[in-house]
């Protein structure tokens, strides 16, 4: 074994795939994805059992949610731009990309808040209301966690903690953000689009 003589020729705590922190993040995302899968199971299960029309008040309005979905997709793009920036050693792409992502995330939550206030049913109205607000609320909570993640990592970015070689926290924050985005596409398809088609 070539490394037997001096094992310290090997890199110490390298970034991304080689780091246990990267594996931990992938597995956290997996288990969180399963949580959404079980919640969506609850939605489809109760929907398939419903004796009244589903959703009870007709398919949900799409006027606000379509632009909001686009905002979230764009924010995934800006996050990708930030991460690939630091991979190329660009501090300003990292910082500005994460800042724009943060702002877009805040806008997404604000628009979701407006949409909530316009609904004519509540969590307590019926099982559909419970499912709608719980699933979208769980997703909103994940967006909020992603924003907190962003704030801490961004603070470190402005402090100049990251380099082209070492930026695991950025990779993990980006992976989490893309996950939140993908989950939204699934939630959006299930809760908003499907009732219009089916």
């Amino acid at each position: 074994m070539a490394t037997a003589a001096n094992p310290y020729v090997l890199p110490i705590n390298p970034a991304e795939r080689k780091n246990p922190g990267w594996w931990a993040m992938v597995l956290i995302i997996t288990t969180e994805a399963m949580l959404f899968a079980y919640l969506l199971f609850a939605y489809f299960y109760l929907g398939s059992m419903a004796s009244t029309p589903w959703p009870p008040g007709g398919p949900p309005e799409l006027k606000l949610v379509i632009p909001n979905t686009i905002i979230l997709i764009v924010s995934s793009g800006t996050m990708w731009w930030a991460e690939s920036g630091i991979r190329a050693g660009s501090q300003w792409r990292l910082r500005s990309g994460m800042l724009i992502t943060l702002l877009l995330g805040i806008v997404f939550l604000a628009i979701q808040g407006i949409e909530y206030s316009r609904k004519d049913f509540a969590m307590q109205s019926n099982a559909y209301g419970s499912l709608f607000f719980t699933i979208t609320g769980f997703h909103g909570a994940h967006v909020f966690v992603g924003l907190l993640f962003n704030v801490v990592v961004q603070l470190r970015a402005w402090l100049g903690h990251f380099t082209a070689e070492r930026h695991l926290a950025v990779t993990n924050a980006a992976m989490y953000w893309h996950f939140v985005d993908v989950v939204w596409l699934v939630v959006f398809t299930s809760l908003y689009l499907a009732p219009h088609v089916m």
Partner: protein
């Protein structure tokens, strides 16, 4: 026999790097997998004793007809706490204890891949247990059974905090379980010693690995079920409320989607314990290693497709029920493979019936009986007859005590000398085995017939003249004999720690890597990182299967910091050095913040919940702020 001899200065230097700080700080801040593993073992045994005391109360109440030692309400609380304690706070955590202690030793690493996450999983396990048992102080223990069927758990049928303790406590515990599982998976794929390829892993490692994947995929179902229950109870949603479009069956689907994989989570590593001690006490390699490893993984996967067999009595469409009945029968195939392998190993080997092998033999017998009653209840019509009777109680105790507790006992007798450095008494061990084995048979076998006679489970008493009296008395006597066995075990452990013969590195002449370290192992585990060439690194000369030899006493030292090799996921070739974190209080504080949030949710005190959430955020940010000791010169992680 290959034992590592290390020059004293190197040992001292590595000890300085790896040892936990003395005093209270060290107690709260340690990240040493061996200390965490020992804590897991001790804490789970405390929960076993608590659950055992609850069982003793149940059996005393049922010893004779028309007894009124406890009220029906109290009885509901006791059997619920018994089930929750044993299934959630004992059966899985005890196996995590063995895995935490043994994995790095078996894999040839100096610690788990994420040592701080390891500490976190212990603290959350302990504090969630403290949270659950604080319900005793309020006299409001969970009281709707460990699987807590809706709608009995809904606020209108269950006012009081009882089922809030259930929903919040289990969600808290799932943090511990999930963090632990993620750590095991990362450890397996990142920190095996060079040469420890997948086909050389001990079966116990395969068991815990399978279990860990099952946890990652199944635990969210329990979390979802409990969160929805909490929302129903506290916020007024209608998930389980049939009147407004919900369904009580949703609870059952979510709970058992988690619950059945959980059954395999608490048995697969235990089966691994048996597979790994078989070679030592039969003096030959395990027969059919590859088949047993594949059987372990396939049981874990099939375990996700059988949950509906808990729900045959709920009026499902026959096609659905038949599918799940068939799936439940298919799962007997990998179990039979494992049993065949153990029997063949005994048959072809030269068995030495020391206490660990006695417990292993008892385990096989109980596994087969519990398996047969399992196949019986997988048949739909048979299940309709027996569901909610003592037959089910018999089946689940054969499975959980037979496959979990007996394997755990075997594991203790086998590995405790490694952990404490001292042997247990063999004569007390034999007494311990026979008390537990006979007590178990006397206590649990009659439950089968009692179930066939129609005695329902969970009744707090029964009238005389139904033909149930003598079996119930018999069962109670058996339960007490079994408990006496547990007492003998505790006496044996105390005796061994004080007086036991010194074990030395490899008292049983075992084949696997953990026996290459001193007993107890030093804080750094291995002075040099070993290079592995076979499945039985300590038996290579004897077996002479190939020319290749493992290197255990020479190789890379890695003494520039808390360093161990990071290796490639499949072939385990070193491609980096992992610099491990130093002791830290963050895991303890993080766990404490979650505890505060839980009490905030329980008491409806919004400020307490917010306080906990803010503390949680600060702790996580502090945890991941770069630690200077972990960062090599020239950059940040």
């Amino acid at each position: 026999m290959a034992t590592t001899t290390i020059p004293a200065p190197l040992g001292e230097r590595l000890t300085r790097i790896w040892e936990t700080a003395p005093g209270l700080y060290g107690v709260l801040a340690t990240v040493d997998h061996k200390i965490i593993g020992r804590r897991y073992l001790v804490t789970s045994m405390v929960f076993l004793i608590l659950g055992g005391l609850e069982a003793a109360m149940i059996r005393t109440q049922l010893a004779a007809p028309d007894m009124h030692l406890v009220s029906p309400e109290m009885y509901n609380q006791i059997f619920t706490m018994h089930g929750m304690t044993m299934i959630f706070w004992y059966a899985a955590p005890i196996l995590s204890g063995f895995s935490n202690y043994l994995w790095p030793l078996m894999l040839g690493a100096r610690d788990m891949a994420c040592p701080r996450a390891n500490a976190l999983s212990y603290w959350t396990f302990l504090m969630s247990g403290v949270f659950l048992y604080s319900s005793v102080l309020l006299g409001q223990m969970p009281d709707r059974g460990w699987f807590a069927y809706a709608p009995l758990t809904e606020a209108q049928f269950s006012p009081g905090l009882n089922m809030d303790f259930y929903a919040i406590g289990l969600t808290f515990l799932s943090v511990s379980t999930t963090v632990g599982a993620i750590n095991f998976i990362a450890t397996l794929f990142k920190t095996r010693a060079p040469g420890m390829s997948l086909n050389r892993l001990p079966i116990f490692v395969w068991g815990t690995l399978t279990t860990s994947f099952a946890i990652v995929f199944a635990t969210p179902a329990l979390t979802a079920a409990c969160v929805l229950l909490f929302l129903d109870r506290r916020v007024g949603t209608h998930f389980y409320d049939a009147a407004l479009g919900g369904s009580p069956l949703l609870w059952q689907h979510l709970f058992w989607s988690f619950g059945h994989p959980w059954v395999y989570i608490v048995v697969l590593p235990a089966m691994g314990i048996i597979s790994d001690l078989m070679p030592t006490f039969c003096r030959r390699p395990l027969v059919g290693y590859t088949f047993v490893a594949l059987a372990t993984v396939s049981t874990g996967i099939l375990g996700f497709g059988v949950w509906v067999h808990h729900m045959f009595a709920t009026g499902l469409p026959p096609t659905a029920a038949s599918f799940f009945s068939a799936a439940s029968m298919v799962i007997t195939i990998p179990s039979a493979v494992a049993v065949a392998s153990w029997l063949a190993t005994i048959w072809l080997g030269r068995p030495i019936f020391k206490t660990p092998l006695l417990f292993a033999a008892g385990f096989i017998i109980l596994f087969v009986i519990g398996g047969v009653s399992g196949v019986a209840t997988a048949a739909i019509t048979f299940d309709w007859q027996l569901t909610d009777t003592y037959f089910i109680v018999a089946h689940l105790h054969y499975v959980l005590i037979g496959i979990n507790v007996f394997a755990v006992m075997a594991g203790f007798y086998y590995w405790l000398p490694k952990i404490t450095g001292r042997m247990l008494s063999e004569s007390l061990g034999q007494l311990n085995f026979w008390l537990m084995f006979l007590g178990f048979g006397v206590g649990f076998f009659p439950m089968h017939t009692l179930g066939l006679l129609g005695m329902p489970r969970r009744v707090y008493t029964y009238h005389a003249g139904q033909g149930w009296e003598w079996q119930n008395l018999w069962i109670t006597i058996g339960a007490y004999v079994f408990a006496l066995g547990v007492v003998v075990f505790i006496v044996n452990v105390i005796w061994s720690v004080v007086r036991g013969e010194l074990a030395g590195p490899n008292p049983w002449d075992g084949p696997t890597l953990e026996w290459a370290t001193p007993s107890p192992p030093p804080p750094y585990n291995f002075a040099v990182i070993p290079t592995i060439a076979s499945r039985h690194p300590l038996w290579e000369t004897r077996l002479d299967e190939t020319e290749m030899r493992s290197q255990l006493d020479s190789g890379p030292v890695l003494d520039a910091g808390r360093d161990t090799f990071g290796t490639t996921p499949l072939d385990a070739e070193p491609d980096e050095i992992l610099r491990m974190p130093m002791d830290t209080m963050w895991p303890f504080f993080l766990s404490l913040s979650i505890l505060v949030i839980c009490y905030g949710l329980l008491t409806n005190l919004v400020w307490l919940g917010i306080l906990g959430a803010v503390a949680l955020f600060v702790t996580i940010a502090g945890w991941f702020w770069p630690q200077p000791s972990m960062t090599p010169a020239g950059g940040e992680v």
